[in-house]
Symmetry: C3
């Protein structure tokens, strides 16, 4: 593809030789037909002048020894389009055996233009919108509803039974059959090996625009607000109500019945055990240090109340 064609597809200004051929996206290894994406000045490859072109801001472009450029006010966003252009020509992951062993139940509604992987299982009464991609080994249990443009990673399970159980007088657990389902909006991405449980009576709800990484657990009756991002390994316990546009860091644990406001950011590995009522950045991480230092510190953490009493500090 020529540089001027690329600038046309990306709807961006072009500098340099319009006829220069660009065949791939590069980063560390320079190549005369690679375009390199530079988001900030601290991250410029050493042999920048050996790349074929750069995608960057006008400001950064001026400091580079490279003529050919695509100029964008938001180069990160433009890069999502650039990567998509080269994805189409680079990879064709769908050409597996024609017999995909795709199992489908009764009364399933599947929209237009679906991409379904191998060994996918869709139980009865599931509704799925248009342009949906469901990767390999995914299980969608009965009654789940999924919107348009949704992507589901390999090995994920949607609509498994919630962990609702009641003790009887003999200390035996009695499982509550979960009558609710899972509703997933449009433009949702879900990573690989996730588990999303169905609701007890009402539904578990993942609203439109939510993105979720790998190995995430979402329990029964959780509601996730629009455009919230959930990083890998997060666990959200039952009946939480997560606001819109939250960014939840990796391995965050949210205990049951928690509410968060809109526009909340939670640092990776923090525990959320109380409601977060206003937007902002929240953190609860034990600092890491040399193990020998930690042993000395840990003793004093467990005596903090005594220390404060000793000091008569309130």
């Amino acid at each position: 593809m020529k540089l001027h064609e690329l600038s046309y597809l990306l709807e961006c200004e072009m500098h340099g030789d319009p006829e220069h051929e660009i065949s791939q996206v590069g980063f560390k290894k320079a190549h005369k037909n690679s375009i390199v994406f530079i988001a900030n000045k601290r991250n410029i490859p050493q042999q920048i002048n050996k790349f074929g072109a750069v995608l960057t801001t006008l400001d950064i472009k001026k400091s580079l020894d490279l003529d050919n450029a695509i100029i964008s006010n938001n180069p990160s966003l433009t890069f999502t389009k650039l990567a998509n252009i080269f994805k189409r020509t680079l990879s064709q992951p769908k050409t597996l055996d024609k017999d995909k062993n795709f199992k489908i139940g009764k009364n399933v509604s599947l929209g237009e233009n679906p991409t379904i992987g191998c060994n996918v299982i869709i139980e009865d009464n599931v509704t799925i919108g248009n342009n949906v991609t469901i990767s390999h080994h995914v299980t969608i249990h009965h009654g789940v509803k999924i919107g348009d443009n949704v992507v589901i990673g390999s090995g994920s399970v949607i609509g498994s039974e919630g962990f609702g159980n009641v003790l009887d007088s003999d200390n035996n657990w009695n499982h509550i059959a979960h009558l609710g389902s899972v509703l997933i909006g449009s433009n949702v991405r879900l990573g690989s090996n996730c588990s999303i449980d169905r609701g007890t009576i009402d539904d578990t709800i993942i609203n439109s625009g939510v993105i979720i990484d790998n190995l995430v657990h979402i329990a029964h009756n959780v509601i996730i607000g629009e455009n919230t991002a959930i990083a890998a390994k997060v666990g959200i316990a039952g009946s939480c109500n997560i606001g819109k546009r939250n960014m939840i860091g990796g391995m965050v644990g949210i205990v049951d019945h928690i509410n968060t406001a809109d526009d909340v950011i939670i640092s990776a590995t923090s525990t959320v055990n109380k409601d977060i009522k206003e937007s902002g950045v929240y953190t609860g991480i034990m600092p890491i240090c040399k193990h020998s230092a930690w042993k000395r510190i840990a003793v004093w953490i467990t005596k903090l109340d005594k220390l404060s009493k000793f000091l008569n500090f309130k």
Copy 2:
């Protein structure tokens, strides 16, 4: 179903119109044929008088503007039966293609009345009791023994090799072939996408009545006592011996060779790195706060030993 039929099946007292028709369980949206479950007075829906009936205690019933009721001393436990009644009529998740692609090894013993999902793999020499439900994409490796009335969620792996490895003098890891297996008692529930490793020489043991949520890891040679509940995303490292009737919160990490007493409750996301020798509730969570406040605090945590020395406090 009429209200008097429901009260007969639930073995509970009935108030109001015996002929009132109940066709579903409701919660937020009122409907004249819905029965609503109310466990405590703080949780009464606004339009309670528009529901068809209520399942609650006699005490709560008296405060409600609703004649039709099922009365139970333990309404949560009665609700597990109620949900099961309506589950049977609402969902039929098993009616997938007849060819389920169920793979089974040699010398496998499968009890009466099994429910096996699609793409389930059972290796050689596995023994499984009666009335077992194994959902889709489950792998049961060779030699695993499973009791009666066990439920296994989609994507779970039982009997994978334990993570036992020994360094040699060249810093290469040598894997120990795991000769033990996994024993699962009766009335055990296991969620989706869990991994349960086989023992090194002896077996990994999940005793009867244990319930386990999604994405849980149980390592080689762990023993879990009867009726213990393990929430989602918990990890239990090798050779732990967990007591009976423990309740282990979500994302708890238990390091290797830990023993816990019976009747221990561990708060979600805590780390257990020493034995717990008596029953009770245990917690180890870093409090979450605004990130700006956390940065000020975290500095002082790492200086706690110096602060104590400065104060000559012991």
Copy 3:
């Protein structure tokens, strides 16, 4: 097998009766044809004299009331060989139905002597070395490269899309198509239900000799150094560069763009949120205590900066 044959296979010195028959590895239950492995003096079974033989050091052997012995300077390492010998005769997990439902894409290179489980999916342009074992329900996405002697546990996903997304001005997330792949060296072990994401432009790299337990997440563009061990439930965020011979404890979370030196040990459940620049043992765990004590302590943790100011301590 006779004791002298075992000593020959293990390349170790033998004491006692060369003709004694050894048919299994034992531990808790003594049996006259069992060999028991004893690594240290604190861990000697009570009825040691009822076992058929022992694998231990010369020093420990002298203190035991048992004639038959295999003597090793490194009995743990010798035990990895011993377990392998008995594994071969005990279990034959591969004899499932001949139709394994193994799906393979175009242009896949598969080396000599592969062991492939059921329902394995290998997409286009994947390269796999010799003597590789891939267990059931594994997904290997397009373009992944895997070396020799690699073992992959059931349900793992290799090469799923990374979690790279860019917000646009409407607060919608735009996914970056990931053009990189995953490179896995030789002699790597990966547990069950893991997720390893492909790189954005460059590749995610797992170097030779790395061992990884169950339910581990490795994000896009992570590089793991040779012979590093990663315990279960670890999450490593994007673009981390982990050194050689690290030992990363269970459920450790490593935030994005972190570098660790060689020979670093990180205690289970710690969070790594800054670079670790020299080898050593590192820990960041909130101590667990009775919940009532924790409540008193947690208050003071959040006031530590005020306490230090009150004391005028720096």
